[in-house]
Symmetry: C2
């Protein structure tokens, strides 16, 4: 299935739309933070709110609002739901950053790191006690945000039965899916490459990245149609469309982490190799390389001290085995399928065009 060419003006329009959504969500969340939880101690409140004050691209709220508008709904009215999915995403980042021992996120210290700094400053704790305080704060802050996401979603102006159905879908389906994906991610990191199937990597990506995107799309459509997502063929099709985009995005992210340009990608090239991250492209390379190449890769993957030459050697094996081409084709197949779903599901509107631009922006993206 061939993918159409990109179009610069529709990419511009999509970027402008995203910027507008990000502004609106930031402003909504700012008011919401001010209104909430006056009884919450300052450190906990600040830790929970810190990620929300540095919002990301707000892709998830944009997807929810675009799907709502494209299905004939009022994108403005569903802003609480759009804010809910951003807060939900943020919750998962806070706990994920503890689990992955990540120190930075969006250019700021992660919650457990800034929490440790609070512990040193306010309570004059030792390094170890401060680190512990930081982890406690981050656990509680993530918990607070999980609750807040549900609270925001439940406050969307919709029939109570629909709001309840959406809240149930978040807590019944989305949360177990996403947590299953996070656990699978942890487990795969402890498996040897031989034990890892492509299917398990796909499952992990589908649960960890695809499920929330699918939730955004189905929720947007459900709110537009005033119909529970599980009863709407349009919601189901758009959910699948968003899930496919999530898979494609993740595969391309892994490809860029291997051989993108550091400046435009924004994180160190080769860090996935040094961490030994279980990606589709690397699994393919491991499965199809020679015995000598496998020894080479085994000596480099997952070694924090791997040199630039080591990284280049890994890249060479990936090219030799055609694993980069394989993964890119797989990603493009998902995007082509997503495009087809989009166009067969929704009638043409400016919002459908913006959704199309989002999908197209992922084709051969470089950041």
């Amino acid at each position: 299935m061939a993918l159409p060419e990109q179009d610069a003006s529709s990419q511009q329009a999509f970027k402008a739309y995203m910027a507008q959504v990000a502004d609106q969500v930031a402003s909504f969340l700012c008011d919401d933070m001010a209104a909430r939880a006056k009884s919450v101690p300052e450190h906990l409140r600040d830790t929970a709110d810190s990620y929300l004050r540095q919002p990301g691209k707000c892709l998830r709220p944009a997807l929810l609002q675009l799907c709502c508008a494209a299905a004939g709904g009022d994108a403005q009215a569903v802003l609480p739901a759009a804010a809910a999915v951003e807060v939900y995403h943020t919750w998962t980042l806070v706990h994920d950053d503890i689990i992955d021992h990540d120190a930075f996120r969006r250019g700021q210290p992660t919650a457990h790191i800034s929490g440790a700094a609070l512990g040193r400053r306010r309570w004059r704790l030792s390094e170890a006690a401060a680190a512990d305080y930081g982890v406690s704060l981050a656990i509680l802050a993530g918990d607070l945000l999980q609750g807040r996401a549900l609270s925001l979603l439940a406050s969307v102006p919709a029939r109570p039965a629909l709001a309840l159905a959406l809240a149930r879908r978040m807590s019944d389906w989305l949360t177990p899916e996403l947590l299953a994906g996070e656990q699978l991610d942890v487990e795969l990191s402890h498996c040897s490459w031989e034990e890892i199937s492509e299917e398990s990597i796909m499952t992990m990506m589908r649960q960890k990245t695809g499920a929330l995107l699918a939730f955004c799309a189905t929720t947007g459509v459900a709110l537009a149609e005033d119909c529970p997502p599980q009863d709407s063929p349009v919601a189901q099709a758009m959910g699948r469309c968003a899930e496919l985009c999530g898979l494609a995005f993740q595969i391309q992210d892994d490809l860029l982490g291997l051989s993108g340009e550091e400046v435009s990608f924004g994180k160190p090239i080769g860090s996935d190799i040094r961490e030994g991250k279980r990606t589709m492209v690397m699994r393919h390379a491991m499965a199809y390389c020679s015995a000598a190449e496998r020894r080479l890769l085994t000596g480099i993957l997952g070694h924090a001290t791997a040199s630039a030459d080591d990284i280049a050697a890994v890249r060479e094996v990936v090219t030799r085995t055609g694993s980069d081409v394989y993964a890119r084709k797989c990603s493009e197949r998902f995007l082509a399928e997503a495009l087809q779903l989009l166009e067969s599901t929704l009638r043409p509107t400016p919002q459908r065009e913006l959704l199309r631009s989002w999908i197209m922006a992922m084709v051969r993206r470089n950041r």
Copy 2:
């Protein structure tokens, strides 16, 4: 306000009722666990479910069901909500046990400890990596249970508007209250005794223990009356009644931790002293003792190696300052107020009698 005498036969009836609720909740949760989350990896599922398979006394479900029945509702019909509050309580225990570094709960290893054992066994991890794996698992398991609590509550057979109102009350109010209490608990542990007001200890107990009990009582009444809890005077009054019982319970728990009998209490007497736990009784002793006694207490409280003689010395100061009598009177005042609220709010029914027995059981309890 004098408290009436206890009555052995109504205590028996209350115990029998509690045992019956615990059985029903356990059986409901067992079916629910089997039905849920087939896509969740085994380690995560087992970790999340382990506390639920060793349920506690199920006081919170019993309180919800009794308040429902006493307000004229069908206690059987609201079983999903009763199970929800037990799962909710369990979620907070899983994360609390990580924060407090507790190794045992209900006679079993806590989630992060059993998770570490899984990491050693399944992934042959080193001690440090296994401990890390255990914490990750316990964070994710707690997250899973927070979602499940909401999902169960939202599934209660009620008008969608009421189920939604209850789900919002859990996520808008209860969760921030409870997390604020947990954070305050952590913060108080880092404060010097001079910095700690009785009010802050009361706030911590109200948020950490009282809020969930209040939620149980208001939810039970709200379901009986088919009316959102904030609009029901009966729900409000019973919420306050349950909160008072929570405060009284906590104060008595702290008194028992100081001078109860180890066999009947079930945890080591003096461990609160060795941990330096910020309790109302100890704060009172610290505030009203002599300078010499304060030096003595400061040298013992929070020292893990404190001897039995040290513990006895602390107890002596507590008696000398009348702090135990002060705390007991405070607890009894709360219980008397709770009894009065109960009797002025609900008309006499067998369920009101059982609630009364619960309150009476806390008067001079020894375990």
